[in-house]
Symmetry: C2
Subunit: 229 residues, 2 copies
Amino acid sequence: MKNIKTTKKSAGAGKKSGISSAVIHRLPRYFRYLRELMQNNVLRISSNELSERMNATASQIRQDFNCFGEFGQQGYGYNVKYLHSQISEILGVSEHYNAVIIGTGNLGRALARSKIFVNRGMTLTALFDVDKGLVGKKFDDIFVYDMADLEKYCEENKVDIVVLTMPRDCAYDIAKRLSKTNIKGIWNFTGAELAKSTIGKPIENVHMGDSLMTLCYKIKSAEKAKVEK
Amino acid sequence: MKNIKTTKKSAGAGKKSGISSAVIHRLPRYFRYLRELMQNNVLRISSNELSERMNATASQIRQDFNCFGEFGQQGYGYNVKYLHSQISEILGVSEHYNAVIIGTGNLGRALARSKIFVNRGMTLTALFDVDKGLVGKKFDDIFVYDMADLEKYCEENKVDIVVLTMPRDCAYDIAKRLSKTNIKGIWNFTGAELAKSTIGKPIENVHMGDSLMTLCYKIKSAEKAKVEK
């Protein structure tokens, strides 16, 4: 295959400051789809093909990628592996982060058993719980530590991302404890609305119920469309 | 308290066709916050106060609400209970849906034990699994049915929303089976990308890893900002 020249600006350079949060939110989808293409040994894809699959116009896709530099060449499409690696770099997914999960309830265990970390080049290194009956046990080879040892563990080990799955009431206190450690970010499933401005660390609050409400809206819209036909 | 006159257009009327998906995605956040205000017995709130909490400008909030009709009056702010009920109606959350969960692994159990359904006026009525060892058991009073009886159950009971938490490989086949039933929508956690165009039902695909990648991006941006300082 002919080697296509691309203008390889370094990812994230140039127009970075102007990147809208809408673009940022689309990148994980591109990342997922490109990973699938790589798994299926697809080497090259056009923005039209990406567009069909991604539910976005080809022009929007070209615009999105242009925010970060030039990834493709008119008429030749995108090199899948290169595009995937660049999006990984932009998203910071290629940093080989270590993650720990606080809370070993059903959600904590579901995340621990999923491929969610490994699929993004991360390693889950520990679980934490207040329940002394669980401390010292292992779930799928991941050791459960005592919550009392959280700071000590963070000091002695490289911990980048902390996943909060314990009850909501203690979310703020635990986040405050984490704010004094060297961890890099908090992935928060507790339902509490934590803000970077109060905790001092990047935070992503997950509200799963929001997507359930989006589904409700889609159902309502579909029913309305049926009635109006 | 003085009763404020508002121009009560019926929710969803008027400009509805022009509502962007960005607005729709903000509504669940308003819904959540207004529910909290109600729980704290707050009766009235200004768009400025909403703005501070919601990380959106007051003008954006006013614009969002105007998409659906007039909810507030200049200088008086919004009636919290009324606004909450209108947003519930727009989102279709006030329909008292019944939900069932397919898959009783950790994620299925986490959802079953959460307040995610009850907080939105829904009732979780059944769990389904292929594992004969689990069929007939109960988790928190919710009965586990055999996957072989899915269609029969949907025929004999009102099922509105089906939550998919089983392994990804069977997502498409099960969604196809559901497409022939009377259910209204699918909330899909399997990681498979299901489309309404192929299944014929409204679908919300949840990719939890996407928000993990958004966190990675926030971490990377924060580190970059620190270096640039």
